[in-house]
Amino acid sequence: MNESLINPFTLSHPTAVQTSLFAGATFAKFDPTGRFIASAARLAFSVQIWDLETRAPIRWLDGHVKAITNIDWSRNSRYLLTSSRDWNAIIWDLSSPCDPPQRHGSLRFDAPVVSAYFHPKNSQIILALLATGEAYVCDLRKQNRSRIELLETITDEGIEEEENNGQGVMRSPMTVARFDPTGKNIFVGTASGSILVFNTRTKTMIARHKISGAGAMKGFDFAKSGRRLVSNSSDRTLRQFILPSYSNPPTDTELLEQSQPPFLDLELEPTHRFNDPINRTAWHAMCYSPDGDWLAGGAADPSGHKIYIWDISNDGQLASPLDGGREPLLHLHWHPTRSLLASTTNMGNILIWHHPNPERWGAFAGGFEEVDENVEYEEREDEFDIEDEEVQFQRKMKAEEEEVDIDTIVTGAQAAVLGGLGTLSGNMGGAATPIGTGPSGNYSMDIDKLGSGMGDDIEAAWAEEEPDTDIRGAWKMKVIMDSEEASEYY
């Protein structure tokens, strides 16, 4: 809402550190509503939830006995999924009224858990990756309760090669596993530098992309549309790919048995490669901006805290390097809607980067407008004519007859356009966004446009069977008052 008054048309990337949180963290992630940050504590093996508005910790989640490897938020931030080296993944419910919050559920595996993610449409479907290189889809819904391992389909030639070695079928260990933003497909990166694509519903492999020269995959991030993927791999290069459209496996089980599932074996060529040509530093993390126009990369530079920001809408040019001081960077994450970055240092501090708006002192004077450059003022013909007060009053009353709309909520850019033009009502109905829908991605690029076919509906319907209880606006995090002693501490 405030965007329209600040500066509606320049969306920019963060440029300066706004605050740092002394969290003792190994990494930190914003939640999808953008109100909180979850950080994994290095020593206590616990998770801290920070309120971004007050910049203070509001919850401590204790439950793991070894280092936490990943945190994922459910889509409306009610649930939190943590994975740990203690072989467990724990689901937390932040709407729980008790403090500290009790665990909502937990999953036990046979090896340290490297990462665990919620399905973007249903937090009862969980994708877990183990340190042994196996990935599991765990479905906690009553009707579908299952735990299925994702198995790479070995093509015929592959088998032959393996047989020549006399070792049977050998699968390359999986090193990354992520849902795409729609949850329809699962993308798995392997130690041999391939990206495997699985259908979430059927758990069958539908595509394999060999990425030449990449080495072991270390991380993925998707632009919000799901059309673009950036990968981090052991060759110290970030690669951006435009993903092909994947076919949907047939829904009918009979059909599935009869026909060979459609399979795409395709080498993907990156549209951009981002690396550090001089120092050849590796990357600890990378993250797209919410509109997908920027990509931030966190350098694994032992001598400093460096974040590189590339302008994707401008052919991937380096927009600016950010220097966050001497503490090396471990992780970074972009805010889901705003121009904010959270980067974690190896000393455990979370730096919050923002794009500062210059103070406009003209705003303090009523009736004044600051202009960017000199404007030649043209006096109206009748500007200083003496007018009858009665006529003036009549004109004002006439102008006030125009209807006003006091309860349709209009989001940022639209409000700015409407406000700027000074149109007050009448035609407002069409342009206004009904209450409840968030800011739409007006700024997305053409390549992000995703053709949604019939198949997507089937996948979405499957995921939304037995919906979870994470409903937008339907839960509240209770404000817990600090005791007086604790407040002295801060």
């Binding site: 309120d51 007050t54 509001i58 009523g366 006030e400 006091i406």
Partner: protein, 303 residues
């Protein structure tokens, strides 16, 4: 004297402790209950967000909680050492904040019926207070001419805005908590960025009358402001233009809040210094109903 809850069903109840729901487009409120109990003048009266409770506070240093449906007294909260000027409900109805002449803001747990926090910092009377939609922040204004934004859980001020050059008479957040509007006896209405604390806009009428109350419209695209020239104005703050004026009532001395009703039909409601409550049609600016029955000035006196 009037303060409406955002939810609809109980709106009628709030008009000076009286109500019968209206069936048609025209407001048709009538007196349902008269609640008596305060020994000195009442300064603030607000329904809880779900309408189940009504809180009142006044110069007698007490906050009284009433049943929103039956009008029974539920409890009396005491603790302030001077008169109370304003109260505000947290959006979940669990907490109540009160602003007092003892220079403190106190947070009360409605469940425990007890004080849970005292916010110290204002250097003079605190005159107005409001929660943000997430209820983790509080904004207050007072006779020390500052607007303060508080972290409630820790009881610490996050920002102190040197907002005005006269006592601040009203301050509140917009519907998504990103903006704050404040107004003061210097006649200015200022809009602030809640996160950075930067001033984004200043609205002022040509005659510069004392501005006694301001709030955002439900969609935050307009600001409704009462001034002590017996006028209520609806401002489009993007264009800095006044789009509606509502007159007919009398308001020259006290800070009387004005409200939107959006439950059935869209109205503006405000108290008047001739012991009446006025209801205007939002669009036509006609007075639709005048409620009588109060003795003494309707609205709250400046302490």
């Amino acid at each position: 004297m009037t303060q409406l809850p955002p939810s609809s069903s109980q709106v009628e109840q709030s008009i000076g402790q009286q109500a019968v729901p209206s069936s048609s487009r025209n407001p048709n409120y009538s007196l349902r209950y008269t609640l008596s109990g305060h020994r000195q003048s009442i300064s603030s009266l607000k329904f809880s967000p779900d309408g189940s409770m009504l809180a009142s506070a006044g110069a007698d240093k007490l906050i009284k909680l009433w049943d929103g449906i039956t009008g029974q007294i539920l409890d009396t909260l005491q603790g302030h050492t001077e008169g109370i000027s304003d109260i505000a409900w947290a959006s979940n109805g669990e907490y109540l904040a009160s602003a007092s002449d003892d220079k403190t803001i106190r947070i009360w747990s409605v469940e425990e019926r007890d004080e849970v926090k005292t916010l110290n910092g204002h250097t003079n009377f605190v005159f107005c207070v409001n929660y943000n939609p997430n209820s983790n922040l509080l904004v207050s204004g007072g006779f020390d001419e500052t607007v303060r934004i508080w972290d409630i859980a820790r009881g610490k001020p996050l920002k102190i805005l040197p907002a005005h050059s006269d006592p601040v008479t009203a301050v509140s957040f917009n519907h998504d908590g990103t903006l704050v509007v404040s107004c003061a006896m210097d006649g200015l209405i200022r809009i602030w960025d809640a996160e950075s604390g930067q001033c984004l806009k200043t609205l002022v009428d040509d005659d510069n009358p004392i501005c006694s109350y301001a709030r955002f419209s439900p969609n935050s695209r307009f600001v409704l402001a009462s001034t002590q020239d017996s006028t209520i104005r609806l401002w489009n703050y993007q264009t800095s233009k006044c789009v509606k004026t509502y007159t007919g009532h009398s308001n020259r001395t006290y800070c009387i809040p004005a409200c939107f009703i959006t439950s059935n039909g869209k109205y503006i409601v405000s108290g008047s210094e001739d012991n009446k409550i006025f209801i205007w049609d939002l669009q036509t600016r006609q007075v639709l109903q005048v409620l009588e029955g109060h003795r003494g000035t309707c609205g709250y006196p400046i302490p």
